[in-house]
Every structure is written in structure tokens, then in C-alpha cells.
């Protein structure tokens, strides 16, 4: 990997402090993602995957260490980093068009030109005709596509995907994986995907990072073979190189689980920080 990554985490440590005490969620994490690279974070629940994503987005400030994007330290959320959440969280009182443009409205960039760009974007995501409808009139897959449009509308150059497909039916999930993969590649965006689905990670990414739990540390980084990177996710799952990669990941997670259960048995920890903001 080149030295000047688009996105860098230097020695990032995060501690959650609340009435129950202080607990280490992420411990001295170092990670560099280069421009246009697609990296997946996988790991058991409670390994701090989502915390890492929140740190990159600027929703959380690292307790120690630093996150930089394009060389500049991240201090607060900004529209140049797109974030897709597990659920679509569309605003029920806004039309689809107004939902898709909310990021522009917040940043004072709502112009006729940007509006027509969003309309094109909705078209590109096969949502034309829904512009004036309300979210409750749309199916789950369509709603998540609107959420994607909303994220892309502000033209971010880094995309953070926080298990955006986990709440969807299998075949819609596969279609959406292809769509997101394709959109991100075509825009040359840098992406970080958090998922618990190993196949999804293997099918979509250039590099897969396996995190160990309690606290979050990198256990292993796997480069995805060149031929898989170039193939769209649905096709990639049928590629001969897919199965060996998947099995390698599976094995790694198995070891991690056994190790974790041994640790759990020895010391009771108040884990599960993963879901907290």
C-alpha cells in the first residue's frame, strides 16, 4: 500500500465512559486506505467495527490518536464523507426528492442545478417516478436506494457503509450490493464497509480487515485477488477464487470465536459497545 493514503487512522484508541465505568472499545488501531480503495471490516459483534466507522465519520472523537482524510484531521461530521446506515431512516414527512436533497439543504447547496443532478441520480438508481411520493409508499429495497441517493447527493469522496444491506431480503440485498459496488467504483470513491456477512465482504472489497474483539484490534488483513476485485459482487460469488477466500475468512473467524469464548469464560467483560453511538 502507498504511504499517502486517502484515509488514515494513526494509533486510534477509543474508550467509552459512562455511569457503568470506562471500557476500551478500540485499541491502538492503525489503518491506511488509499484513494479509490474498497476496504471491509469484519469481526465478531462487540469488536468495535461500528465504533471505527463513527470515528472516521467524526461522530466520535478518538480518545487517543488521530483520524485523517486527505491529510486533514477529522474533527466533526461533514458532507464530504458519506455514511449509509443499517436502516434507511428516511424522513416520513418529506417526499423522496426532498429526502434525497436534505444533505444539500443542510449545507446550503440547494440550487436548481444541484436539484436536477439529484433527479438524475434518482433516475440512475431506478427511482424515477417516485420523486413526489412519500417513503411509506416505497418498498424496503427502494427506500434503501433513496438512502443511497441521499448519501451520494452531496458528492462525498469517502463512503462509509454500516451494514447497509443487513435489513433486506436476500435477493434485494444481492442486487443492491451490485448497485452500490458499481456506483462507488464509477465515482472512484474510497469506501469502508462494515459487515458481519463474510461473503459480502469477500464479494465487494479490495481488502478485508478482520478485527478481534475486546478491544478492537486488527487480527488479519487479507488482500482480495485481483480477478475478484474487478468482478461485480453477484458475479464474484460464482468465481473460482471466491470459495478459497471465503473459507480463509471463515477459518479466521472460527479461531477468533474460540479464542473469544475462552477469554469470556475467564473474565466477565461488559462488552457489546458495538451498537452504541
Amino acid at each position: 500500500m502507498p504511504d499517502h493514503g486517502k484515509l488514515r487512522l494513526h494509533n486510534v484508541t477509543h474508550v467509552y465512559v459512562n455511569d457503568g465505568g470506562a471500557s476500551l472499545a478500540v485499541d491502538s488501531l492503525n489503518l491506511t486506505v488509499s484513494q479509490g480503495e474498497f476496504v471491509s471490516l469484519v469481526g465478531p459483534s462487540g469488536c468495535g467495527k461500528t465504533t471505527v466507522l463513527h470515528l472516521i465519520a467524526g461522530l466520535l472523537r478518538p480518545t487517543r490518536g488521530e483520524v485523517t482524510i486527505g491529510g486533514a484531521p477529522v474533527t466533526e461530521p461533514s458532507a464530504s464523507v458519506g455514511y449509509m446506515l443499517q436502516q434507511d431512516y428516511l424522513f416520513p414527512w418529506r417526499t423522496i426528492q426532498d429526502n434525497a436533497t436534505i444533505g444539500l439543504a443542510i449545507n446550503g447547496k440547494l440550487t436548481p442545478a444541484s436539484k436536477s443532478r439529484v433527479r438524475m441520480l434518482l433516475q440512475e438508481l431506478e427511482l424515477s417516478g417516485t420523486e413526489l411520493r412519500y417513503p411509506h409508499e416505497l418498498s424496503g429495497g427502494m427506500r434503501q436506494r433513496v438512502a443511497l441517493a441521499r448519501t451520494l447527493a452531496t458528492e462525498p469522496d469517502v463512503m462509509l457503509l454500516d451494514e447497509p444491506f443487513s435489513a433486506l431480503d436476500m435477493h434485494i440485498k444481492l442486487q443492491l450490493e451490485d448497485l452500490v459496488w458499481d456506483t462507488i467504483r464509477r465515482r472512484g470513491q474510497t469506501a469502508v464497509l462494515v459487515t458481519h456477512d463474510l461473503a459480502e465482504a469477500a464479494a465487494m472489497s479490495d481488502r478485508i480487515i478482520v478485527l478481534g474483539r475486546n478491544p478492537g484490534r486488527i487480527r488479519l488483513a487479507l488482500e482480495v485477488p485481483e480477478e475478484l476485485r474487478r468482478t461485480a459482487p453477484m458475479e464474484a460469488r460464482r468465481h473460482p477464487s471466491f470459495q478459497p477466500l471465503f473459507e480463509r475468512l471463515w477459518e479466521e473467524m472460527d479461531i477468533e470465536d474460540v479464542a473469544a469464548s475462552v477469554v469470556d469464560a475467564r473474565t466477565e467483560r461488559n462488552g457489546q459497545h458495538d451498537e452504541k453511538v
Binding site: 465519520a57 461522530l59 466533526e76 461530521p77 461533514s78 458532507a79 464523507v81 455514511y83 446506515l85 436502516q87 431512516y89 424522513f91 416520513p92 414527512w93 418529506r94 436534505i102 444533505g103 439543504a105 443542510i106 449545507n107 412519500y134 417513503p135 411509506h136 441521499r150 452531496t154 453511538v277
Partner: protein, 281 residues
């Protein structure tokens, strides 16, 4: 249901469905008519019995009056126009009471949301104020603000503001966290979060609070008018009571029932207008 086999033409099937639908519609219309009829019968029976009881002295007509007397009095008041100033006064006070009550309550709720520290500090005071019967403060307002319109409206506000604040502030805090996160991720300021998420998400609750406040305002206005007014429906009731004219008391109650119902219906229509198009998921 076994009337049709699998091999049936599309034609007969759709006819059959249309038939089922028509008979369902007929049945539901009949039911609606029956309900209306029974309602009307109850009303007519009530008024008729009351009239008969009053005329035949089964009940004391001095105390309970009877419908034709009340009706005549109402007609007289409409004819000489004296009724309108009373209705106007009371409606004015009530409308001002529930609109201002909702606005001020929402404003204070916004303040509490904006400054969590203030909200923690004020929490016990709000609880005490909420459990207190605030109309009991009426005499103090009258002395401080002078007898009349202002002190009646302030008495009304004392009834509506605190409960509005508590309800709306609770709603503010219960707004879906994910929606707040979405705008924060776009770099929204606190004011933008309030404007784009908190207020629109709480809008249905604010409107329904407006409806509750219509009822509460009537209580505040009645108490205020009982205490000081020289004009208004509450004044008419107290006046009728003092001169032992219960026909006047009951006539005022009839007007209040009508005006309060109209007001409530108007707010319901407003609610439907303002929240139309959106539905919770």
C-alpha cells in the same frame, strides 16, 4: 366458498367479487343509518321527557327549567343581539388561551431541549407545578393584572402551558435517534437538527396538544370568568346563578356545548390539513 371450482371463467369470478362488494357496502350503509337513527331517538326522547317533566312539575322547573323556555330565551338573546358580545368575549379568550398556551409551551420545551442542563435543573420544579391545581392561582393573577381579559387569559395559560411543555419536551426526546444521526452526519448544526428533524417529527404531537388545550382552555376561561368577568358565557352562568335564573344558566351551557364542539371540530380539520400526506411508517 366452494361455490367455484378451479376452472372458472375470469368473467364470472369478477362478477361474483363485485356482488360480494355490493352487499358489503349495502350492509355497512344500513348499519350507519341505524346508528344515526338511534342517536336521534335518544336526543328526541331526552328533550321530550325533559319538556314533559318540566311542564307537569315532575321536576322543579325553577331549578331545571325546560327546553322550550331555554329555546325561547336563546331566541330572545339572538334577536336583541346581546348574545354575541358574550360569545365573542369567551371565544376570544379561549382561542387566545389554547393558541398561546401551545406556542409558549412549545417554546419552553425547545429551550429545555436546547439546554439539557436547564432541563435537569428545572425538572423537579416542573413536576411540582404540574401536580398543582394552577387555577388556584387565579385570584393572584386578578390582583396583579387587574380584573378582565388579561387576567382571564393568563389564568387559562397557567392551566395549559406546563402540561404542554412536558408533553412536547418528552416528544422531542423520543424522536428517532437514527433520523438525528442522518442530519448530524451531513454536518447539521443544533439549530438545523431542530428545524429539519425535531420540529417536523414532533409536529403531529404538537397539533394533538393543541386539541387537548382546547378543552383545558375552556376550564381556565370558565374559572376566570366566574371570578371577575362582566362579559362572557361564564359570566352569564354566574349571573344566572346569582339571580336564580337557571334558564339562563342552562341556555349558556347549551351555547358553550355548541361553540366548544365547533371549535374542536375546526382544530380537527386543521390537524388533518397540516398532517395530511404523511403517515408514520
Amino acid at each position: 366458498m366452494t361455490r367455484k371450482s378451479n376452472i372458472v371463467s375470469q368473467e364470472t369470478n369478477s362478477e361474483w367479487l363485485a356482488g360480494l362488494y355490493t352487499s358489503h357496502k349495502t350492509r355497512s350503509r344500513q348499519r350507519t343509518i341505524a346508528v344515526m337513527l338511534v342517536r336521534a331517538v335518544i336526543l328526541i326522547l331526552f328533550i321530550g321527557l325533559w319538556e314533559a317533566a318540566g311542564r307537569n312539575k315532575w321536576i322543579d322547573p325553577l331549578l331545571f327549567s325546560f327546553p322550550s323556555r331555554i329555546g325561547n330565551l336563546l331566541l330572545d338573546m339572538i334577536r336583541d343581539g346581546s348574545i354575541w358580545s358574550h360569545v365573542g368575549m369567551t371565544v376570544g379568550e379561549t382561542v387566545l388561551g389554547f393558541v398561546l398556551g401551545t406556542l409558549v409551551g412549545t417554546l419552553i420545551a425547545a429551550l429545555l431541549w436546547w439546554f439539557p442542563f436547564v432541563s435537569r435543573v428545572l425538572d423537579p420544579y416542573l413536576v411540582v407545578l404540574n401536580s398543582m391545581p394552577k387555577v388556584a392561582l387565579g385570584p393572584i393573577f386578578i390582583v396583579a393584572l387587574g380584573p378582565g381579559f388579561t387576567s382571564i387569559v393568563v389564568t387559562t395559560l397557567s392551566v395549559t402551558v406546563i402540561i404542554t411543555t412536558l408533553n412536547i419536551y418528552n416528544q422531542f426526546r423520543e424522536v428517532e435517534e437514527g433520523l438525528v444521526k442522518v442530519v448530524r452526519l451531513f454536518g447539521a448544526s443544533r439549530l438545523q437538527t431542530f428545524r429539519y428533524v425535531i420540529i417536523p417529527a414532533s409536529f403531529p404531537v404538537i397539533i394533538s396538544t393543541l386539541k387537548v388545550n382546547v378543552g383545558l382552555s375552556w376550564v381556565g376561561v370558565m374559572v376566570g370568568e366566574f371570578l371577575v368577568a362582566k362579559l362572557g358565557l361564564g359570566y352569564l352562568i354566574i349571573y344566572g346563578f346569582q339571580v336564580f335564573n337557571f334558564t339562563l344558566v342552562l341556555a349558556s351551557l347549551v351555547i358553550i356545548a355548541i361553540v366548544a364542539t365547533v371549535m374542536y371540530q375546526l382544530v380537527t380539520i386543521l390537524e388533518r390539513r397540516l398532517t395530511g400526506g404523511r403517515r408514520e411508517r
